[in-house]
Subunit: 259 residues, 2 copies
């Protein structure tokens, strides 16, 4: 699909505030890093900076937990206000255990705490707040892709990732929350392999693989590197359907054996 | 963790036969690709070439299915001989549906068909055969790492990956079956983030992220690119515990909510 891939994390990326224009920040950071975007590149953005630019903060003092939130908070040993926020972002509760609430986010992701994060945001014991996932990450990715095209004249893929836990495996991996100009899946079903056998199931989640690769270079504690330039994905970027979104990565509930 | 990562797939890698010395083939392919390994690099190998070098073929005509295999074959609509092979590689059956048998492989991976593959191997209707996963991928990775050190004098990480399906998500991603000289997990628990908050859960499955990244450059049908050189992972390679294995990536059964 591609013989060589390089990933560069943009250094010295500024802290992002609500209302910031990510396109502008990225263009400035590219210049600061002496990198230029080319058509066929892809950008991977950490979810946090998109959420921050979109002002997706929730102040705990504004949250009034309902009965269900109190009930789950008791089971999970969590702050009822945090649980109320989780429920407000979820369309189903998948598992509850001490310390963990796994839900189906309203965008379809199965995630602990609906992806709500309290690390790397300015918070305090007096007035705690949390950062929710972007409202519509596919639309956020599309908007940034369009802005980059308008400003720089380049056709790039944009992927928004987050670090998530998984069934069966320890540790988090980068996963796609939204994408534009980059195919979520690369479908080789029905092609023949080297020996002429028809390949049975070889639909690769290429956006998730790119998200994982980018996560490796973003590091975890370093909000300083939330943007990664991927080069060598031209073939994938060029085959992206104009209206493809990351929804194709969500396994439909009726096909899912692990709810 | 690392600001820049590059991945190069070795081109023109030969077809691998049972008994082949992978270290020798890799050294020749590096020369052919005008690449040299440096200490701090990592190599990612597709599972198939390791299995082939280790002669992990199973001929269907040698397989006598038992009652359980016939029963599951009926439920899953599969060849009972293939099902017998799957059962022989598994320590538990997790889900059975028409077309799919998901098991706990005896090495702990939760995988469809115990990772048994019939693509990219020479087979025929008359005498079908399948390729099993390597017997002990961590040991295979360690052996290759040791050979590379002895032959080239370099300290590199070695990861063996495979493309696997997941709960909740469509498409396959590269996942680690075995590793040596590369940390399976990168644990930042208890560190502080940029704002002084203690990070709650930030244990990254860095070996799986590298496996996913490598899968992106290996392509799927191309057995021609089963070896990837990753550069820019020095910090991870240098922190690898001498005896770390990929077992750390297996979520213990009693901690797993999704069996």
């Amino acid at each position: 699909m591609t013989g060589a891939l390089s990933l560069h994390a943009l250094e010295r990326f500024p802290l992002v505030e609500p209302g910031d224009d990510l396109c502008e920040l990225i263009i400035a950071a590219l210049a600061d890093n002496e990198l230029s975007l080319r058509s066929g590149d892809a950008l991977v953005l950490a979810q946090k900076i998109v959420s921050k630019a979109e002002g997706r903060y929730a102040n705990f003092e504004d949250v009034i937990p309902g009965d269900r939130a109190f009930e789950l908070a008791e089971q999970a040993n969590k702050d009822p206000r945090l649980v109320e926020l989780i429920l407000s972002e979820a369309r189903d509760v998948v598992r509850v255990r001490p310390g963990v609430i796994i839900v189906e986010h309203r965008n379809g992701y199965i995630m602990a705490n609906a992806g709500i994060d309290r690390s790397n945001i300015e918070t305090s014991e007096q007035s705690p707040r949390a950062l929710l996932l972007p409202e519509a990450p596919d639309a956020s990715a599309r908007s940034l892709r369009d802005s980059l095209k308008a400003r720089l004249g380049v056709d790039v893929g944009v992927v928004i990732n987050d670090s998530v836990g998984r069934a069966w495996r320890m540790g988090t991996v980068g996963m796609t929350l939204g994408c534009a100009g980059f195919p979520p899946l690369f479908n080789q079903m029905g092609e023949q392999d080297l020996f002429g056998n028809v390949l049975e199931v070889t639909e690769s989640a290429v956006a998730d693989e790119l998200s994982a690769a980018a996560s490796l270079v973003m590091g975890q504690a370093a909000e300083g590197c939330p943007v990664v330039v991927a080069r060598g994905v031209d073939a994938l970027v060029s085959m992206a359907e104009p209206d493809a979104t990351s929804e194709a990565l969500i396994r439909p509930r009726e096909m899912d054996m692990f709810r």
